[in-house]
Amino acid sequence: MSKFSSAPSGPSRRMFLRTGAGLGAAAGLGLWGTTAQAAASIDVVMVNAAISGPLRSVLEGASGGKINDAPWQSTTDVVSRLTAPGGTGRYDLLIAGSDFVRKPIMGPRPGSELVLPLDTAKMPNFGQVADAFKKDVADRDGKVYMVPVFWGFDSVIYNTEQMPESDPFTQSWAPLFEDKYAGRIAWYDAAHQMIMAAGLHLGNPKPEDLDGKDLDEVVRFLISRKKNIRTIWSTFAQGTNLLATGEVACLYGPIPVRAELQRKGFKITNAWPKEGVLSFAHSAFVPRDSKNLEASQAVINAMLGKDYASQVTKASGYLSTSNLGSQDFSPEERKRFGYGVLDGSTKHHGLGFPPAIAKWIEGWNRVKSA
């Protein structure tokens, strides 16, 4: 008799079937859970700060369900997610930089849009979009596909203990490039933004059109000024910490950096460069195969409504594209937050999308490796 004859005979066919059935049931439950959840929630990709704190409850209240926000990386990333195979059915609402996304989402001709037309009749706050942002509304054949929901701007953000606000030098892009604050400057690791700022500083009226020799001149200028910088920052946490610790006196930064540091009591403010701050808008659009158009429209409408629009600036540093956004602010607050851009009292330049972006990226890489 075999020594092993009394031993358990190992996994039987029945056991395999049982395990398979269990896994199938689990997978089925998982899918059911996903489907059941989808009916009550929408999946969005947007700047995380724009749905943080009290802003989330405002938007969830409007959509009537939960908002699942995917991790935000960049506008480029949003376009990649949308244009990847199957990308038009993965999310219900996407919000990203207007200038950059307009072309890829609208496609070259009618019918090639990657997004759904929005029913503005169901978005009563659509009429509140400020005149300054009407250009960011993407429409075709009378249908609206993309609506600007919040905006912001980039500027020189600086520590007032190291750079006095009264210094006229600070009210320009110069601190980032000139010798005065050498060794205490941080640049932002973004080709688009840094070349735009340098172009403005060098007196180019439309830096977004830089190409060829003109672009090369700006790149060479940046390389010549690289000796003045302490570092090139890439994440919000890095930028804010550089300023807060005093490691740098100023940096190129988006306005939420200033907002966060001021909220925490640091003596930080931003310059209002005579060449203009670099402004940008983020617009909302609904991917073509989304099953939650109604809820997504409700969220867009809520973002233009008073509850959200009046809170977004203090909560995130971004500003509302809605006329309702700054109604409750005092003139001093409006100026400080940047709403002067809307009435023309603050000079700004749109962070337009450069047609030669590939050359810009190549040029910026030259700057970084120089």
Partner: protein, 278 residues
């Protein structure tokens, strides 16, 4: 004779000079090793210090001791959820990767056509840069219309990532296994399944545990391949990324310490379960 004289003559000189040179060599070696370990572990020590620094910024100077960052980490639902997701995904993906690696390793003990080529294919995910792999998965899952999620796409990505490492860990154990034991069992009438359960498995169990733990740590720390395919859910590395790109997040060092503690604990368990050489 002359050689002997020469040797006799040089010996005292050499024995006199040797200790000084040896002392110098040892000193330099110690300094090098000290610097090596300083560069290796000082950042970890700094992370520990910053995690209890009572400051709104991540950095020095040290402004007093606080446990509030740990309290924040352990009481914030999003962080707890991300941590739980990482644990769950790590356990499941490590379990599946280890099981597949074990089966493959058993198969690779035999000779078969294109074995060398297949081995290279198995190890390919190690060679593909993370960001490239991530984009490939994004496109692949898109064509297959697989919904993004922790238990769909992220699980597959983590298994694919951990599998070659699991295979490399477990294959040497099986390769060096004494086939005579299996043959002896079969001579006594054991079926292949019984041989596996009663002979092979008990002997290689420590290797399986070590493989599982290694695969778990790989999954737990994975970010690049996960980011694009996890949809709206978050593992702890993905959640950390979302924090650092739009927050000052002074609690980040505390999160780092918690993650490190998990990885170190898993490694220690692995060491404890690995049989000692006698």
């Amino acid at each position: 004779m002359s050689d002997a004289v020469l040797q006799a003559g040089t010996r005292p000189a050499r024995s006199f000079a040797w200790p000084r040179a040896e002392r110098l060599r040892k000193g330099l070696l110690c300094a090098y090793a000290g610097l090596f370990f300083l560069f290796l572990y000082a950042p970890i020590g700094l992370l520990l210090v910053l995690s209890v620094n009572d400051s709104e910024v991540i950095g020095l100077p040290f402004k007093g001791t606080t446990s509030r960052w740990y309290a924040y980490v352990l009481t914030t639902p999003e962080l707890i959820r991300a941590l739980a997701n990482s644990f769950a995904l790590g356990f499941v993906s490590a379990g599946i990767a280890t099981a597949i690696a074990l089966m493959m390793a058993m198969g690779f003990r035999r000779e078969f056509p294109l074995k060398g080529l297949l081995m290279k294919i198995v190890l390919l995910p190690i060679l593909i840069p993370g960001i490239v792999g991530s984009a490939v998965f994004l496109v692949f899952f898109g064509y297959l219309e697989i919904p993004f999620g922790l238990w769909t796409t992220a699980l597959m990505v983590h298994i694919t990532w951990a599998l070659p490492f699991a295979f490399l860990t477990i294959f040497p154990r099986l390769h060096g296994f004494d086939r005579g034991l299996e043959e002896a069992a079969m001579d006594l009438g054991a079926t292949p399944i019984v041989v596996f359960r009663r002979i092979l498995l008990p002997i290689i169990r420590p290797g399986i545990v070590a493989t599982f733990l290694f695969a778990f740590t790989l999954s737990f720390d994975e970010f690049v391949r996960t980011f694009l395919v996890i949809g709206t859910q978050r593992t702890i590395p993905v959640h950390l990324w979302t924090l650092i790109i739009d927050q000052m997040a002074p609690f980040l060092p505390a999160v780092g310490v918690v993650i490190m503690a998990v990885s170190v604990s898993v490694s220690l368990i692995g060491f404890a379960l690995t049989p000692k050489e006698k």
